[in-house]
Symmetry: C2
Amino acid sequence: MKVLAVINQKGGVGKTTACANLGAALALKGLRVLLVDLDPQAHLSISFDQVPPVGDPSIYTLLGGRHGLVDVVRSTSAERLFIAPTNLDLSGAETEFSAEIGRETLLRDAFDDWKSAGGEADVVLMDCPPSLGLLSLNALVAADHVLLPVQAEFYALQGMAQLLDVMDRVRRRLNPPLDVIGVLVGLYSKQRRLSHEVLDELNRHFGDLVLHPFVRVNVRLAEAPSHAQTIFEYSPRSGAAEDFSALADLLADRLGLA
Amino acid sequence: MKVLAVINQKGGVGKTTACANLGAALALKGLRVLLVDLDPQAHLSISFDQVPPVGDPSIYTLLGGRHGLVDVVRSTSAERLFIAPTNLDLSGAETEFSAEIGRETLLRDAFDDWKSAGGEADVVLMDCPPSLGLLSLNALVAADHVLLPVQAEFYALQGMAQLLDVMDRVRRRLNPPLDVIGVLVGLYSKQRRLSHEVLDELNRHFGDLVLHPFVRVNVRLAEAPSHAQTIFEYSPRSGAAEDFSALADLLADRLGLA
Ligand SMILES: Nc1ncnc2c1ncn2[C@@H]1O[C@H](COP(=O)(O)OP(=O)(O)OP(=O)(O)O)[C@@H](O)[C@H]1O
Ligand SMILES: Nc1ncnc2c1ncn2[C@@H]1O[C@H](COP(=O)(O)OP(=O)(O)OP(=O)(O)O)[C@@H](O)[C@H]1O
Ligand SMILES: [Mg+2]
Ligand SMILES: [Mg+2]
């Protein structure tokens, strides 16, 4: 089982879009995929129309110790694609769990319990909120690898140093093998002059880690969630479906799951 | 002095872009404008090339009580446009100040001290991070009004109920006169089918509060910050400059400052 944190504290760069569609592409290739919604906005859960009612098993009740992952995990309309959803209660997590002993390890423990009770997946993708608070820290501690969605815009590199610094500290104190498996460039459009400057910079910093192809801007990606569909159900022959399918091939290869 | 919180917990909807360019437009109309950077990513500060070195006066040291607003406020290259910048240290605020007595009122107190020491501005725009944590709460407590940037996308309305609910609680317990002064639609493009459905819904929920014109997608808005310029310096005759200028007229009118 390979656990990936899909994280970038910059807002609106395509984290949720990458989780939903990369997850779907990996499932289509025959892998068993679990998506985990760690964002209190619950956008990943909403885009699969799987928001649990308040009090029902969710990532929020999981971190609070009331349910195990086996209670939270649900199937989606796609074969081999599962989701551990959340609801808006999760927005209380930062304050509620900040005094808990081992507060950054709650999610890792839940995965361990799930695995020893027979839970299994080839790949886990955790959708993170646009911040580096307790929920994102839980993801970084539970993760084997980090997938960094970025948008080729001016701010893209500003936050990178801070994120890499946080990763360093997590690596040193809580999760030594944590590494970056890839940088996924989304919302890409060739015409933007700015994109090329930023891409040169990304290549300089990350080299081979920059995954190809880039995910091109495609309005169907923004439309699909309103129909509770992934791009493979909503517009299977679109450029966006091609992009995510090719990225899934590359990622599966890098994870040694091809 | 009218204090506005520019807030939406959805990431990447144009909060920072609105603060920088609306602020610049209001200053061009003769108003004295203070921009406040409450986002630990410090993007507003970066886009004016005004990120204070660690330990220098910043929003972080202000909330920690080491400096007053008079020490933090700096001028920008534009006349009548000032900024209270921050640096990345602010990302520690959520945990560091969460045990402080009256933790949500730290910023309001700082404004009160600044005013009684002679600080003045016609309009204050506070750029909020993409979350509803302690920093955003400080903005909601210090604010007279809320300006809601939204993107005409599927997720736009999902988070609204939660934000309005948080505003309700702030209004009841800490800041009774708080209201929504306007909804600012950004990253708008006519061709997107999805936009029209969402706009109908926004109009139903917010009616007259939806500000016109919408800010059209324009790559120059994304390029300007990399030159530490607002749209009025970078591309003064662009559609984007027109959009923000017209919005500034409308906002000044609604604030009774025209
Ligand atoms: N390649 C793309 N083409 C067109 N629209 C896209 C693309 N990728 C993402 N989007 C749209 O851009 C918006 C932001 O994407 P998304 O919500 O996935 O970002 P995020 O990083 O998860 O945001 P947040 O920081 O709020 O969690 C959404 O409306 C999404 O549908
Ligand atoms: N009207 C527009 N046309 C083109 N690009 C835009 C427009 N408005 C914003 N952008 C770009 O979209 C990206 C997101 O905008 P911005 O950073 O202002 O959003 P934000 O809500 O402040 O994000 P965060 O949630 O991370 O604070 C930036 O690259 C910005 O330059
Ligand atoms: Mg998201
Ligand atoms: Mg911002």
